[in-house]
Symmetry: C2
Subunit: 188 residues, 2 copies
DNA sequence: GTCTATATCGAGATAGAC
DNA sequence: GTCTATCTCGATATAGAC
């Protein structure tokens, strides 16, 4: 693997584990096995490296979501698949976790991948719901955009509850609580 | 106001704005107007000060939630009041935001107020839902604990979406999406 | 491209005077 | 109780040799 590649992957891991403010160039060098001079040769500094890493993580998150949402089956089934996918719950969301970091939110360049990722995800889920609605899968009217926002929020909030409890259980409960509400709208 | 009090309030503000790792003793001194020596006289160090501040914020969060959830009216109405309460959405949750901080989650003492707060909140909302269920307010069966977890998660996740978008709108959408799902379970 | 040396600054305290 | 001085360490680079 190339040096730049190793740097990006190490930064992705550290951003996930420690967030942005708490991830140091020194730690990136140690994790990647790349030296000081080499790191600054490939990237201008910590912000540039973080930007590359965040963009990469955002791509991966979109690909994973699309694998669930783009499949065959009913709208409700695809949303359930997305909600119930296996996750490292206690690690939190690699993208959503950064929204808490003041230095990320304050920097428009660093925040943009977050905005784009969640914007895309909400839109993608809304499109799935809209498709289900057109097919007559739902028994009651349902606002696709608002419902999609609630679905994404339950996942992101589930991470917060799980990390607070040091247990994946609240995540699971929140997801199942939402699925039960959605199922009540779904024709059998 | 006492010196200790000023220190706690300044720390509460900074933890809310910047999180734990990114809040320095120096910043606390400047925000509170309390000197170095004085700060270390009243508190052993940053962890002790943060613990006092987090406990205080947790108390305040519980009091605010109880004001909505403990009122008169139907279960659904009290939950709606809780969900629609005016919030500084872009600032995020003073408690939930800390769940992303690795140093907070790694320290059992610092994490405990988070666990207790969300444990209490989920239980309190579950009790409201259970009361509504006994009164026959719901038209379909509904698991109080799971539904409560979903409700709390939507709020916490709403903050994440809003901060990512630099706009309160996704928070509002997620909350309204959830309320619409809940309303479908509620007798008119 | 990669290495080592060096620089500046703030984090997070401790010590002891007042 | 509060103040100022001092200390150590890591964050985040820059410079220049190899």
């Amino acid at each position: 693997m190339s040096t730049a590649e190793r740097l990006i992957e190490a930064t992705q891991e550290l951003l996930w584990e420690r967030g942005y403010v708490s991830t140091s160039p020194r730690a990136i060098q140690q994790r990647s096995g790349v030296g000081q001079g080499s790191m600054y040769h490939h990237f201008e500094g910590k912000p540039a490296l973080a930007l590359a890493a965040v963009r990469r993580s955002a791509e991966q998150l979109r690909a994973a979501a699309e694998a669930d949402l783009g499949g065959e089956g009913s709208a409700a089934g695809r949303v359930r698949a997305y909600l119930r996918r296996e996750r490292s719950v206690l690690r939190g969301c690699r993208i959503g976790g950064l929204a808490q970091d003041p230095d990320v939110v304050a920097d428009p360049e660093l925040r943009r991948p977050l905005e784009e990722t969640f914007g895309w995800l909400r839109g993608r889920i809304a499109a799935v719901l809209e498709e289900g609605r057109r097919r007559g899968e739902f028994t009651a009217p349902l606002d696709p955009a608002a419902t999609a926002a609630a679905i994404v929020a339950v996942v992101q909030g589930g991470y917060v509850l799980a990390r607070s409890a040091a247990s994946p259980e609240p995540f699971r409960q929140a997801v199942e609580g939402l699925i039960a509400l959605l199922d009540a709208h779904t024709a059998p």
